[in-house]
């Protein structure tokens, strides 16, 4: 259940950055790479609890998945990681080998865990 630790870092890092922005925070949009071992449900549950008593209290946590992208170290392939679509896995697992030639790859995307944007509602918004 390390999602709590992750969300605690998120809230701690985000609150000071929001100080210069007035309004009620209604949503926090997160980008989460598919290579991360993090449960979306656990992140949302943790957010509800960790955000209590802060400006994020009434915000929802919205999570966008970022597919893994790789660059081959041997051929010129750069693009989506290949996946292993095994019935037993119930989801496609990104494989860190070149889908074209099988060589080693560098990860170009898929390890992200970042705040993309935050929605705020101010009195001006309500009046408009």
């Amino acid at each position: 259940m390390h999602e709590y630790s992750v969300v605690a870092e998120l809230v701690e890092a985000l609150l000071p950055q929001l100080e210069e922005h007035a309004g009620e925070v209604t949503a926090v949009f997160l980008k989460k790479g598919d290579l991360r071992i993090l449960s979306e449900r656990a992140l949302k549950n943790a957010f509800e609890i960790v955000a209590q008593g802060t400006r994020l209290e009434r915000a929802t946590l919205e999570i966008e998945s970022i597919p893994a992208r790789v660059a081959c170290q041997s051929c010129s392939y750069e693009g989506p990681a290949g996946t292993l679509d095994d019935d037993g896995f119930h989801f496609a697992v990104p494989i860190l080998a070149c889908p074209e030639c099988g060589s080693r790859v560098e990860i170009r995307a898929g390890r992200e865990l970042s705040v993309d944007r935050v929605s705020l509602q101010t009195a001006v918004d309500e009046g408009a």
Binding site: H2, S5, E9, I37, D86, L113, R117
Partner: protein, 221 residues
């Protein structure tokens, strides 16, 4: 309603920075760090004891960081191997983080060490997202966890470069085929290395030490 955009700074940026600080500090001291991850009872402590014996025989000096949610059982075992050890109780936290490792490194005599083993809390999943600043990571599984262990955690093993399949002496008793674990892992990570061990009875330890390049040179890393 209006949106405030962020530049995409990682949420775990603080952790990544701390891990990088640990990495640089160890590199500056010429100390190699190997972290060992695995479920409770997979054999992390025994495996580290065996590797300590190999590097001690080469005249190299080892330190350990023993992390558990409570107690000092692993720490006591490492001290019995005549190495410098630091006990870390995470108090129910399910993983080590870079800040905790940094404090533990403060208590190790880094100037005199060649190698540090960091034994994470017994837990396969949670440590995966928390870099510690080590050069090498070993994920250990025991055949007693079942031969579907890799299949049940595909995303972890797809990103793990070195897997130790331990307690192979018990495979028959628990009806497990270690080769199934190895072939599942090879499908998930075609460039990964799997080593079969029975750490308790010293089987496979030489191969693991060679894989880790603990034995191949006369000078430390």
């Amino acid at each position: 309603m209006h949106d405030v955009r962020f530049s995409g700074e990682e949420i775990l940026a603080r952790q990544l920075k701390l891990a990088d600080t640990n990495y640089r500090r160890l590199k500056e001291k010429n100390v190699r760090a190997i972290s060992v991850l695995g479920a409770i009872g997979s054999g992390k402590t025994t495996l580290i004891e065996r590797l300590i014996a190999r590097v001690s025989a080469r005249g190299l000096s080892t330190g350990t960081i023993a992390a558990d949610s409570a107690g000092d059982d692993d720490h006591t075992r490492f001290l019995a191997c005549n190495v410098a050890s630091v006990n870390v109780n995470t108090q129910d936290e399910c993983h080590l983080d870079a800040a905790t490792v940094a404090r533990a490194l403060d208590d190790l005599p880094l100037d005199t060490l060649d190698l540090v083993f960091i034994e994470n809390v017994g837990n396969l999943i949670c440590p995966a997202d928390f870099p510690l600043g080590t050069n090498t990571e070993i994920v250990i599984i025991s055949v007693t966890e079942g031969d579907d262990m890799v299949r049940k955690h595909p995303k972890i093993f797809a990103q793990t470069d070195l897997v130790v399949v331990n307690k192979i002496d018990l495979a028959g008793a628990v009806g497990v085929d270690p080769q199934r674990i190895v072939s599942d892992y090879a499908r998930l990570n075609p460039h990964g290395t799997a080593v079969l061990t029975d750490a308790l009875h010293e089987r496979g330890i030489d191969e693991l030490a060679r894989t880790l390049e603990l034995e191949c040179t006369n000078t430390p890393w």
